[in-house]
Amino acid sequence: MTGDPARFPLSWTRVVAIMVKEVIQMRRDRLTFAMMIGVPLLQLMLFGYAINSDPKALPTLVNIQDNGPFARALVSALGNSSYFRVEGEVASMAEAEHRLANGDAQFVVTIPAGFEKALVRGERPALLVEADATDPASASNAVAALTVLIRTALDPALTGPLAGLKSGPDPIDLRVHRRYNPEGISQYNIVPGLMGVILTMTMVMMTALAVTRERERGTMESLLAMPVRPSEVMVGKILPYIVMGYVQVVVILAAARWLFGVPGVGSLSLLTITLLLFIAANLAVGFTFSTVAKNQLQALQMSFFFFLPSILLSGFMFPFRGMPGWAQWVGEIFPLTHFLRVVRGILLKGNGLAEIWPELWPIAAFLAACALVALRRYRMTLD
């Protein structure tokens, strides 16, 4: 095996010696070891079970102004299809508008007054479907299924004198309004979402590294021997990154406006305030990681471990409503999930504080929990 090193430049003894050392080091760094096992498992779980790009059972509201047998047949056909889940009725267009804006419903189906009569006369009455098309992908399959669905719902009822309607053009004039994004441009959905993704990635990583670096290089000891409080260190370290975060936001917003033509109908000042909360939540995560991580590599690994489910379960890459219940439940924890709804709501739907409020307090709760852990752990590292 060994032989003359000049004749066998690759010595197995030396290779094995280095290999053994490497395995020992790998086993000793528990976090890296856990990541190597954990990341594939996490990806398997998320991609295998949670992610589905063809969402079913989308929440649908109906606005029934004509309660005839045809109308009832239509509503029950909607309920029977796998794409729609009828969650109730709305009394007015105003209510429908509001429920679409705050994300309660993906579709509102309106059956206008005189629907039945017009149908019987062969006048092709309008059936109005309003879809929340901020994420065009999540609504398109359901919309495509509508035409077939209407046919199968009505055909059994079209008998006797009405049988003639079967052969002609559709007995109903189906009008689908793709709200907030009528042309179904996916950039409208992705670019604002990207703001949340970029902020999550940089804010968590930067803070985690900033504090861990201090410990790894030994400068923490000097710093703690000086008359500074832990909270002063925390705030002083975080503030520059908040400013950095806003710089990123300005860049993304400018690109959204002038490169991608994203509408931007809502209030920029409301967005600015929400951003502060979201950025703070991510910084708190980073700070918490930094109090746990022993070195910068571990801090990076933890950031990645947070980032991966954030991006996959938040509804950024794949429709949130396509995921099974447990994945949605987990997704609700991440600030990114809520921020995506806020930023898309403000920029595309023109939402105000009332509509986005249900998304703000989960971010605030997350921030509070993280800050609590970070401050407690940070104090303890003195001893």
Partner: protein, 308 residues
């Protein structure tokens, strides 16, 4: 009348994961003195220093540092203490001037720019102020670290092995600086492994296994050890070390170049033990004072017997 005390602690104790690192540590250091902290690696020197400046909370014991309670007034102590850590702990990616300015800023000093300029001038680094601290050589790093520690004119300076790995000339300059500071009224507590540095302290103490074993001036410590030492010189004296080692009556036999120090605590037993070699050809025997190193190694050996 007793001089005012800079450090006055009683019964300090610190445990890490149930392991006692410092136990029952009491010491009084008068103001304006240079106090040397000696002891083997892991004897609790760094931990004690960290407790004194409020970086660590003692598990037991009480005390005052510069008149402030070490448990409850850490903030007040930190403002008046300069602590130079064992490892170079300034920001390597900041320049020399930026490091000084940062520290001045944290302490909230007035006339920041002027103070930084003065410090740079004193260091002789005025021309290199824009150089990154990380690119300095070991000796310069240590001088810069000292300069940042005294920037806020502390009353007490804690130096944790400040001269490890620094060349003799730089060490001498460093100690001259320390003496100048002490003459200005600053109290200095310095831990070191170098015997020549110990001899430059007004007073020293020796720690082993977390306990204070002795304290006093260098002559006091040497005399108090009760060690009797013979110096053997001549051809092959150093080779005798192995032969004499562990003989009854001989505590240690340490070669110094071609000479040998043979020490024991009992003068008569020692003489009996060395008798067979006293008149060996080529060897000269003479009584000598034990060196500080002899004393400390002896202290460490006996401490091992007592505590381990």
């Amino acid at each position: 009348m007793n001089p005012p005390l800079a450090i006055d602690v009683e019964g300090l104790e610190k445990r890490f994961d149930g392991r006692c690192v410092v136990r029952d540590f009491s010491i009084q250091v008068p103001k304006g003195r240079i106090f040397g902290f000696l002891g083997p690696n892991g004897s609790g020197k760094t931990t004690t220093i960290r407790m004194l400046c409020g970086l660590l909370t003692p598990d037991a014991g009480t005390g005052r540092c510069l008149g402030f309670d070490i448990r409850h007034q850490a903030a007040a102590i930190k403002r008046r203490v300069g602590y130079m850590t064992q490892r170079f702990s300034l920001y390597e990616d900041l320049t020399i001037a930026e490091n000084l300015d940062f520290v001045a800023h944290v302490y909230g000093l007035d006339r920041r720019r002027a103070r930084v300029d003065e410090a740079l001038e004193q260091l002789g680094l005025g021309q290199r102020r824009r150089q990154l601290a990380g690119t300095l050589s070991g000796g310069w790093k240590q001088r810069l670290a000292l300069a940042t520690c005294v920037l806020h004119q502390p009353e007490l300076l804690l130096l944790d092995e400040p001269t490890a790995g620094v060349d003799p000339k730089a060490r001498r300059d460093f100690w001259d600086h320390i003496h100048a500071l002490a003459q200005g009224g600053m109290t200095v507590l310095v831990s070191t492994h170098y015997m020549d540095e110990a001899e430059r302290c007004h007073e020293i103490c020796y720690l082993a296994y977390g306990r204070l074993l002795v304290r006093g001036t260098v002559p006091e410590v040497t005399a108090g050890s009760g060690l009797v030492t013979w110096l053997v010189s001549g051809d092959g004296a150093d080779a005798l070390a192995r032969t004499l080692h562990n003989r009854p009556g001989i505590a240690m036999a340490v070669p110094f170049g071609s000479a040998l120090h043979v020490s024991g605590t009992d003068a008569a037993a020692l003489e009996a033990a060395i008798a067979p070699w006293r008149h060996a050809p080529g060897l000269t025997w003479s009584r000598t004072e034990p060196s500080l190193e002899d004393v400390f190694i002896h202290l460490m050996d006996s401490a091992e017997d007592n505590f381990q």
